[in-house]
């Protein structure tokens, strides 16, 4: 009797493991941090790209507007890809685009903007990549849509048509 219970228990145990593995197979194995929505933007001090003056996050992100904080670099190929979308968003009055220039050389960054135009209201500098970590970013490009000093959408990787229309919808 005792061994029967044990047998049944063991069988059920293995069936359970089977289903857990089975379900586990469907989960993606690459980790992407959860979209920490409704999270306050980090507060920081940073240098401005054009004139190296210090600026705080409160001075950049005011309450009444939408902001798109975009992490970019001249050496990053997907940034080129998403640039037309940024330019198009730039023409939208509801939205200010803030650039975060990630681990870049100034000369190259200027060239990049000259070639593709500048969609950014303000560009802040992140020479060593630590500011991007404040934002919980880990690559380029990444974008954050901000309203009332809260992140309402986080985009990892370049913008595309779908994301572009979604942003448009959100800032209406």
């Amino acid at each position: 009797m005792k061994s029967k219970i044990f047998q049944i228990f063991l069988t059920i145990f293995f069936i359970m493991i089977f289903f857990i593995f089975y379900k586990g197979l469907k989960n993606p194995n690459i980790y992407v941090p959860k979209n920490s929505l409704e999270k306050d933007i980090p507060s920081f001090k940073a240098k401005i790209f054009d004139n190296n003056t210090l600026v705080t996050s409160e001075e950049i992100f005011k309450r009444d507007k939408f902001y798109l904080m975009n992490i970019w670099a001249s050496w990053c190929l997907p940034c080129r890809e998403e640039h037309p979308f940024l330019m198009e968003l730039h023409s939208n009055k509801n939205l200010e685009i803030i650039g975060l220039n990630y681990k870049d050389k100034k000369k190259n960054a200027y060239k990049f903007l000259k070639e593709l135009n500048n969609p950014y209201e303000i560009i802040i500098l992140d020479k060593d990549g630590t500011l991007a970590i404040e934002w919980g970013a880990y690559g380029v490009p990444e974008s954050f849509l901000i309203q009332n000093q809260k992140i309402i959408k986080k985009i990892i990787g370049p913008l595309n048509k779908d994301l572009f229309t979604e942003i448009k919808r959100l800032i209406k």
């Binding site: 047998q7 197979l25 980790y31």
Partner: protein, 595 residues
């Protein structure tokens, strides 16, 4: 007898045809026949011949064919070597092995056919990942598989023996050979993988507790446990159920490992290209095997010889049980640590990582009693033993305590835990060393293996405690001045090879005693696929390795330099070889010394 020959012939034919197709695949790789999809995906005309050949098993499809080759090879060898066993037992073993073989054949053909055809035929292949283009890694898979897949024969024959109620002392002796064969290959396979990781992954570690490493360690732990446990079976015909469970779990763990690695359910440094369909197939097959074994175990297994099931507390049997107890614990830690993140994610969709700190915390404290037991256990006699005339055991304890206190005393490490740990390792070291002189080659293989293990633990500990490293950024021509040495970055040179371009840095390292070492790490830019790798330069001597790597930094004109001094590295490799040698000796020469 005629029937017998037929079966052997058929098994041989099976093996023969698999080897033909395997050789066929190798030939396609050698000739760079890109009409074959596997060759196209994993080879390139500019690759050196050696890596064209090793590319055969450096990918999912080819390695599965290798897996099949080992499965058929082992059953063929088993049939030849088991002529003195009963026919029923041999046929049943063959049957179970064929179930595994059929499963893998179906898997190969359904999901990962190595002979898929592409048309139109491409002119050039996509190339092999450069970090796989390495001599140690080229021979690592075949050897690892001989151990990993070789355990299938233990699985099959144990199931056969259980079904027929065939388990006996003689059977234990017969199966021990196969356990040893798998164990030896698995040990060397893991060693090669570790050596590869040490100099190819470029950061001076040799074991990362990465899932892929863990899945090779788990069958090894189970096999080692089995190896000890089978001694009790051989001597006293007890623990039969335990031996059966261990034999089944060894191969099950190998399969489980294959599932974890090939399905891409885990992410690791060394993942294969993955495909959920493949994962599903292995998963279903794995659980078919598990339920089949459970069924056989529940309905056919009979416990024999119940009354001899009690052991005196101080005896060899008990010490082997203690070994099993600890080994199972280590296995549990590795297994749970590896698969727990999957479970957590499925149940609560939280994602966590389980890394080296977890394993260190749970394994290291238990290593201390384990090492002591390992030193004393082999001293005990079967059935009943006494503790008289063992004063030297105490003397050696004091000796090792003194030695370790003197070594650890002046170091900036946690004193207590390290002293106890080093003491236990030294204890095993001294005791086994003494036995070489006093035991007159009685049970030499055990002694070699245990001595090797003590040496392994000691080298790893000292390697950890005494290693130093400098991470710095240097421009060409600059010199880093540290307390113990100066690193001078003299210049860089360029070199063009067939399949890569290399930037070689020339470094002069001046030690505090004035000796100068020249090290030349490389950055390699491979042409196909276009990947930059960093090749470490390592100077090895008996006491330490000097290890240097350089890396490009995005948008900067300096290089990131990492210089490490790793003491006793070579002893880690050497001690694993010693452990293997112990097993090898037991396999080849055991008959002569058997009582």
């Amino acid at each position: 007898m005629i029937f017998d020959n037929k079966i052997v012939t058929f098994t041989f034919l099976q093996f023969f045809f698999v080897i033909i197709s395997f050789l066929g695949l190798i030939m396609s790789f050698v000739n760079s026949d890109f009409s074959n999809e596997t060759v196209f995906n994993h080879s390139h005309t500019t690759k050196p011949l050696f890596y064209k050949i090793s590319g055969t098993w450096g990918n999912h499809e080819g390695s599965l064919l290798l897996w099949l080759l080992v499965l058929t090879l082992f059953i063929f060898l088993f049939l030849i070597k088991s002529k003195d066993q009963t026919k029923q037992y041999r046929i049943l073993t063959l049957l179970f092995q064929q179930i595994i073989i059929i499963g893998f054949f179906t898997f190969l053909i359904k999901t990962s056919n190595p002979f898929n055809y592409i048309f139109p035929i491409p002119n050039e292949g996509l190339g092999l990942n450069p970090i796989l283009q390495d001599p140690a890694l080229a021979i690592h898979p075949p050897i690892l598989y001989l151990g990993y897949v070789g355990s299938s024969i233990i699985f099959s024959s144990t199931l056969a023996a259980t079904t027929l109620n065939y388990i006996s002392k003689e059977w234990a002796k017969h199966i021990k050979q196969w356990v040893l064969v798998s164990w030896i290959f698995l040990t060397i396979g893991i060693l090669l993988g570790s050596i590869w990781a040490y100099y190819e992954l470029g950061w001076g570690g040799f074991w990362f507790w990465d899932p892929v490493e863990n899945v090779s360690l788990m069958p090894w732990l189970a096999l080692t446990t089995l190896l000890h446990c089978i001694l009790v079976l051989e001597k006293r015909l007890t623990l039969t159920s335990w031996v059966v469970v261990l034999s089944i779990s060894t191969f099950t763990l190998s399969m489980c490992g294959t599932f974890l690695v090939r399905s891409g359910i885990l992410n690791s440094v060394h993942t294969f290209a993955n495909d959920p369909e493949r994962g599903l197939f292995i998963l279903i097959f794995l659980f078919c095997l598990i339920f089949m074994s459970l069924f056989i175990f529940f309905f056919f297994h009979k416990v024999k010889n119940k009354d001899s099931n009690s052991f005196f507390w101080l005896s060899k049997e008990t010490s082997i049980l203690i070994n099993n107890w600890f080994m199972m614990y280590f296995l549990a830690v590795v297994l749970i640590g590896t698969i727990y993140p999957i479970f957590l994610e499925v149940i609560s969709s939280e994602k966590i990582s389980v890394g080296p700190p977890f394993y260190n915390k749970l394994i290291i404290p238990f290593l201390i009693p384990f090492l002591f037991a390992m030193a004393i256990g082999p001293k005990l006699n079967w059935i009943k033993s006494e503790l008289e005339n063992k004063t030297y055991l105490v003397l050696f304890l004091i000796l090792s305590l003194l030695v370790s206190v003197f070594t650890i005393k002046n170091l900036n490490v946690n004193f207590l835990i390290n002293t106890v740990l080093v003491t236990s390792a030294f204890y095993l070291f001294f005791i086994t060393l003494r036995d070489f002189f006093t035991k007159k080659f009685k049970n030499l293989s055990q002694n070699i293996a245990h001595f090797g293990f003590s040496l392994l633990i000691l080298s790893i500990l000292f390697n950890n405690i005494f290693s130093t490293e400098i991470i710095t950024n240097l421009k060409i021509g600059e010199t880093y001045e540290g307390a113990e040495f100066k690193i001078n970055f003299e210049k860089i040179e360029q070199k063009n090879e067939k399949n890569f371009k290399a930037i070689i840095g020339k470094f002069n390292i001046e030690n505090s005693n004035g000796t100068i070492e020249n090290l030349r790490p490389e950055l390699r830019i491979y042409n196909q696929p276009n990947i930059v790798t960093s090749e470490a330069d390592i100077k090895t001597n008996l006491l330490k390795d000097s290890f240097i790597t350089m890396n490009l930094v995005q948008n900067q004109d300096y290089f990131n330099i990492r210089y490490q001094i790793k003491p006793f590295m070579i002893w880690i490799w050497f001690s694993v070889l010693l452990i293997t040698l112990g097993g090898l000796k037991s396999l080849i020469l055991n008959k002569r010394y058997e009582k």
